[in-house]
Symmetry: D3
Subunit: 322 residues, 6 copies
């Protein structure tokens, strides 16, 4: 390698540094942060390629211990951050391949990857890897949009279609897919049906509020059980007041408090991967979106760490106190 690294060797939008200054490798790693700075598939505002960098910078404000779950997520999982993948802005398929190859490799090495997007289309690549390793998986999907639109001006691969593609490619167990937080205007009622017709469970923000978190999570637990599950989090699930830095915001979402409460209750699932997508730093301010995303990554890692603990070490007690 010749230094300085020219943009010719590694794209210049790739992040500097690592999440919470994790090392790039260490023995026994069970969790890996992976930057996926790909945003060509976005339909409106673009620039989520700078999302991984923003989340890593915001992670500097975090500390190792998560009192809500009584766990040291990154130490217990011997977590690493392998940096940003060298995706290619103008080449969707090659970028997916680069992502899928890397994610598969991590999974086969016994690690749970946490992808940092990038636009939501990167999840398709992760699901391809997941299905290769685990077969079709369950999915917990936080988003204001179902992302099961078919095409965009004739294009099949964009950030509004990853889950219909995943369905077609048989990467998901439809009845074990939960789409949470859906809201906003639509082209047609069929936009929503696009998901329910596939067999996905769509739970709108209004329904989540009406039913209460416990009820929703109970249904998810009963339905998903021990099935390997991928958790994908589009930051526009959260209200734009709390997460202004995103590409296709929808007003009327959860607050950050509500969001974290919900996520922290999602213990006990058999997680095989995560991602945090659609963070758009050019529209963030005071890092509040990036900090929320980084804090949620900390919580995702905590869910992984908890699953590595003995089941009888329930976090409920600690959680109840803090």
């Amino acid at each position: 390698m010749q230094y300085p690294l020219s943009p010719d060797v590694k794209p210049e939008f790739c992040s500097l540094g690592s999440f919470m200054r994790l090392p790039a490798a260490r023995p026994g790693a069970r969790l890996a942060i992976v930057g996926m700075p790909f945003d060509t598939a976005a339909s409106y505002r673009v620039g989520a390629r700078f999302g991984p960098q923003a989340i890593r910078l915001a992670s500097m404000l975090l500390f190792p211990y998560n009192p809500s779950q009584a766990t040291y997520p990154f130490e217990q999982t011997k977590a690493i951050d392998i940096g940003d993948l060298s995706v290619i802005p103008h080449n969707i398929h090659k970028s997916y391949e680069i992502i899928a190859t890397q994610v598969e490799e991590l999974m086969r090495a016994g690690m749970v990857p946490i992808g940092l997007g990038g636009d939501h289309s990167v999840t398709l690549a992760s699901l391809r890897a997941a299905a290769k390793v685990h077969g079709p998986v369950a999915m917990i999907h936080f988003d204001s949009h179902t992302d099961t639109w078919d095409t965009y001006y004739g294009e099949k691969y964009w950030h509004g279609s990853p889950f219909i593609r995943a369905f077609e490619e048989n990467l998901l167990i439809p009845s074990k897919v939960f789409q949470l937080g859906i809201r906003g205007t639509l082209n047609h009622p069929d936009d929503m049906n696009a998901s329910t017709d596939l067999g996905f469970n769509v739970i709108t923000t209004r329904a989540m509020k009406r039913r209460g978190m416990d009820d929703v999570i109970k249904q998810m637990r009963e339905t998903i059980g021990d099935t390997p599950v991928f958790l994908t989090f589009d930051i526009d699930f959260v209200d734009p007041a709390f997460a202004p830095g995103t590409g296709t915001p929808e007003v009327g979402g959860y607050s950050s408090f509500e969001t974290m409460e919900f996520v922290r209750m999602l213990t006990g699932f058999n997680y095989i991967g995560f991602d945090m997508v659609e963070v758009l730093p050019s529209h963030d301010h005071a890092q509040i979106t990036a900090l929320l995303a980084a804090t949620l990554v900390h919580d995702f890692a905590s869910l992984v760490a908890l699953s590595l603990q003995k089941p009888e070490l329930s976090p409920a007690g600690a959680s109840a106190q803090l």
Copy 2:
């Protein structure tokens, strides 16, 4: 007309384009978007003349169908957007006349106007038109301020006085006026009495929270009944975290979720006009205020569309699902 349009012909602060790219005219129109870029009557931060433009730009993120009300508001109403009125910054009375004339014309043509402000004083002009066509009307008024202060340094017409002027001009049925979301510090207790003494119903944000939406709306329904009603929405009703782009913000307001829930429950009234005022783009960020305003305009249009449907087609079912 000679092109390009010189600022001499139409003020340069007038918006480009239309809300959701609606046409300027079409047969059978029952709803009209009207820009009212007048802000000379503002007392603190100014610049709401750019509000209509910001709301229209944000409307690009919206889709035609409103799943919360199971309606296509703009198609069902054959909505149009007639652009911005050529108000004159330095001439309050002429500007009111321009607005009132246009609003009256739209109302007489069977359309429900949705005005985009502009400062809150434009509502007086709309109410003048409304009273001409319908006689004194009921009013549902979302705001953190009552806007019934009498004068401002001797001036009778400013954005803090439209509703005392409307009262004096006999444009309103005082007992059927509901001022919702009032809060914040005052000059004197009398500032609040200014409204209640006129016979208006003042319901503070705290009272709304304490009583609950159902109770408040029940009272409104019983009081207003079938009377023609004008709905005016000052964006500072909402908390500044959700709507920073406004001229005289008050902390401690509703969230966007709560706001939309409330608005969506306001079905069944006999709406004859709406407006959305005090959106100040120079203090917005990431378009979040403008997007909330545009989404509420979509909801206002939905209320109109629902009223055009047969009453037995209650939206409750659809609403309950989404």
Copy 3:
């Protein structure tokens, strides 16, 4: 004094003007606003030295009467604003001395000071003054952090340690210290124990929500009783969506509505001082953080004003209406 005031005579970061244009002195004053533009003790983002200025500018949006408490806080207390103290950025101990001397003088003159920070370390100086005048005091502490870390890279005096120092200096009655709103990641579980081991009452944001405001305040009332109490408010208690302008934000906090409700219920304590710290204008937008801080200062003053009224003049009635 030679004019113009050179930065040589008074630091150039000192505020212009006064809170709500209060006078610098008047007979019978019972309340004094004091700027404490010291931020050298901050560990991450700096610049809270411009906090007092921002809060004063935002105070221009406030009016004299507080309808939630049915009081004119600044008139009833004959409040003054003595401006910013000439703290010295590079000299922590001298700055504390300057602050403590002034606060003590105000307290001895029968005034309740409301300090405007500045980083949170300024509270140590105020507590030194308070203890000199009143002996060890009770404390109501709003914050997302306990600020009882011991040292920072060997330094004992920084914005993460004021309350362990205050404990060591015997300025507080530990059992009468309430730390409210604590949340976020930690170095170790011991970070939290650092407070509880001192005998402080730590109530996390989650616990506040779970228990409800009434229950928490009941405990505080029973514990603190008539003891002189200092109320310190770190703006990062509030969620960053409502208060982005701060140095070490934590997502998942209270909304501004919830915060003000809580503060307004804190009547009946024997307040001997207040401060509002960690407002960072460089990361604020549309003044929303500064406006929230200014409104809370208005509420603090209202608590003082109420305590000057006869106890039988309970504000409950007025409060209940607005």
Copy 4:
């Protein structure tokens, strides 16, 4: 006076504090800063009412001595800052009257006023005062626009017309009016002729660059001589890169270095008044516009101070060194 000052007593957009912390009065004052926060006459972006405040805040970065002119402008002139005038947003004529009355009073008291706008229409009020005291005056006018358009949608008084009004009211000696820096697109060639037909000297930015500063200033000196002269400075004279915070920017202007060089060469005129207008803080960033404006005010004051010195104390030597 009852404290706190309610917005009812003095508009809330009025500045806190004073320029460089000057006193509001002192014996022997020969120079007075006067805020003129009036912006209702603006045709596009509004908000210059916050200009005086921004300029005063930026003045905190300035020191008493001006090495370019070897003078202490504010000490030598015993300068004062009388604060912002209580102009009334919605009332152009009353606001002009308030301004003119105050400026006349200052002039009659032997002071040179430096007005801080506000939009450019405030200059008309100052010129009315000047003409009352001195008869028609000469004018040095920095601007990208001539501001001699006749009417704006029928309105005669707006920020594009002050100098045609001043001409009509016989406040200026047309042949001794220099409009410097004019540039940008026009409605018609007649827009420029509007000025030259009045007998004004129009010198475009291009002409200034082509001719060189010395040549332009020589012409001005020869033409104006000892006639009392008013210097009015619209910040949009400067290129928007250096002064983004303004209402109707024109690209292609002078840099700040060139601007200050020019202004500093304008010694030896018989100045009877100045103003600095069209600073729009909502579009400024990092205070660069306000700081430039404040520095130019410092230079204006230096020109006054120099004129109070004996003529043989030419600043040329000092100037040449720094």
Copy 5:
């Protein structure tokens, strides 16, 4: 067409309105504004798809007459604005085709198109159209980069390669290509040779300054003569202080004054097309980049208008005065 226009029918990032409110069509049009909101080929910051919208909004500040050239560019050319082309973010080739088809159609209809980008790769599409209609053309290229890099991570079509592709496709007369303003760091000296080896004339910013405008333009006139010429303007030609809103800024460029002087001297060429690319609104502030771009479009149109006048009507006289 069904209204409102759904994002399904026309991408939601397409502009509202038209440049200076020009009509979409009129008889005898000789000039057409065309939005090309394509930015997928950008290598670093993205979002130039919002460039056309920003330029059109800024055009509201412009007036019809250009005094520097004594012409009414848009009236004399009967200019139209056909809006934004429905490019497809994820499909470079289809987007080029859409652009090339439209540009060719305009050229064949006798119009000079002025494209509003979008990233610089859109110029390749315009050159394809130009070559179809006119054969290989001359090119005047303002930019800080040569954009003759071959591939980007294996991709041949991106915003750094349009001119090597144009060379390969035989769209240009290499000896008649002038690349002006080149500067900044490189991978290798060969990056520059990439252009000179093709036979292009590369003139760096330093060389432009050293040689002077007259000398450079003389060389261009002598070399290009009457050959049809396409003028492409990457806004990063200008220094980031004047044009911060761009994707790959290079410090050390021309000022806006210098830029406009240069462009205004480019009379007498046989222009067959223009574009203005790489305006990135998310990184602009106070619209200064967009306003500069809009003003330059006004100047481009003026060059077209002048070429329609009789040659003996030289603009030199008017220009010399203003």
Copy 6:
């Protein structure tokens, strides 16, 4: 080392990553980037601790080759970036010690350090190291301020005093100190004399412009000759339009083009160290300040690289072409 790195181990404001992705070490290194994120000594705006991070992020836009000097600065010098030093915000002397120790070590290892500040006081630490290794040195100092004020409210060590302290500590050869670009208002004429009385050469911005670069550089060459020289660059040397992100801006400075021209002519000196200070990201926009700083660092490295080449390989030829 335990991962993740807790803020307890390394301050959280320390940069992620390295300049242009240089390695932290490699054999034969002759140049080292060193972050010095210390800003406690700043007198007005603070936050330059985030300067190193911002400069490194902006360096992603740079390429390895510098065509203006025909050199690959970082390859030829085998440059490294050792990251940010763990300075301690609240401890000036310990921080200086940490910096001085590291800089001395680098110098003794045959490397030329390029420090990234931080406020300007860090230069004192570097000069201490330099004098230890080389004895008193010459200094080329770009700045709008002389930074030879004695004390600040009694404090001797702050960002306005490093060079009087350096003088007192005998770290500089006074007659070989050049302070370039000085301008702005002062407390007294003596502020300037403070430098000249020490024997420093003060050359104001005006003088630089009047004399021309060649003349100034000739004087510097003749005076400094082969003496080891430290080059310190305060970004406020440049005009705020080009470098808004700084703590104590002065209007009227050089443009970025002029600045780079000047720096690039400074070949042939015997450089033993550099720094780039006072970059304040919280007041930057669109990264323009950070990008200018990074480009200048590239130029500094080029000066080092050139000095490693044989003298007969003069860069003049290459430079003349580009």
